[in-house]
Symmetry: C2
Subunit: 209 residues, 2 copies
């Protein structure tokens, strides 16, 4: 039985769809690491076969991977946050939201790296990427904070400012953990998020009379 030279049985032929997916996955890693100009088509071509059967140009491939990556977002937002929303557990809500964000960045550094690279490179999909991330988050936070304001528990605050401020605070920390890992506070991330949440929550709760 003759294999192509140097290829194991595991490297059998894939159908077009699977091969395309494999190319995208490999390319995500390489572009996330090196950016558009830094990652070479030769690098990518040596990691996955028949690159040019699927993508005419490097730009086409980059666009495809940016689009694919931007479709992802923080997972389990609904499952995680819904219990706290139902219980009106403000602390649980914000704390767990913060933890989800940090965990997501920690687990998938490629996500934020590609977000940043695409923005710095002026990619046409960068705004879309950012908006998709934001929308996933805003849906929950705006809904919950409006509810809590209406109930008189939260102070009268522009809901969007509130939502984006919390996101900014937490994602800045999460981003630094990915991009400047040696420069973050020497503190367990759970403790850090907990403390940030306490400050923030105290800032949005109505003062007790």
């Amino acid at each position: 039985m003759s294999n192509s030279k140097g290829r194991s049985l595991a490297r059998r032929r894939m159908n077009a769809e699977d091969r395309r997916s494999a190319i995208i996955s490999a390319a995500i890693r390489l572009f996330a690491e090196n950016g558009f100009r830094g990652a070479t088509t030769r690098q990518i071509a040596s990691a996955v076969p028949v690159l040019y059967e699927h993508f005419a140009t490097k730009s086409d491939l980059y666009r495809a991977i940016i689009d694919a990556k931007s479709q992802q977002g923080i997972e389990y937002l609904r499952e995680t946050l819904t219990p706290y929303m139902e219980r009106r557990d403000d602390r649980g809500f914000f704390r767990n939201l913060g933890l989800l964000i940090v965990e997501f960045y920690d687990k998938d550094p490629d996500y934020v790296r590609l977000l940043m690279f695409s923005a710095l490179e002026g990619h046409e999909l960068a705004d879309v990427y950012y908006q998709r991330q934001l929308e996933i988050y805003l849906e929950f936070v705006l809904s919950y904070t409006r509810q809590r304001m209406k109930a008189g528990v939260f102070r009268r605050i522009n809901p969007e400012v509130l939502a984006r401020s919390f996101a900014g605070m937490v994602s800045s920390y999460a981003q630094a953990r990915v991009l400047f890992p040696n420069c973050v506070m020497d503190m367990d991330p759970k403790a850090a998020i907990d403390k940030m949440t306490r400050i923030f929550l105290h800032g949005i709760l109505k003062t007790q009379d």
Copy 2:
């Protein structure tokens, strides 16, 4: 009187020090725009003469510009904040600090672009860059917040968490204004900072009895 062909009188010869500075300035713009791999030495060489008389390699030049840019930081921090510190004007302190950060990013996008590019590219000076930025800021905020906690005005909060949280919230907004200008809140930056400051300040002030 014969000039070199196509050169105006304005392009007289510079001494080595001035020429080096001019090369660094031009290179900062090009590297901030395109990153290390995206900016070509030919681009730079066509913008400023005798590049290779001053820098042996592209990497040497990049290192020089990263180092130069990382020495910069938010200007007028002392002049602006000291009056508020002396007056114990918490609101004024944080609000003006926030505005300074936003104005600085708006005025010098190259600063944050190079910070991000250097981090994404894994440059050896990226951490230094980030730390220098942070130190300038922390000096003031830690000092002030410790003072205010001692005076019993601010709640007992880890000062570093406090300082970094505010910075994170504001710089996330400032960064988005540079990198995702179409995605920021439709609101005057002064108003946005004011609202963020109010949330934050409420979060750190002791509850009134």
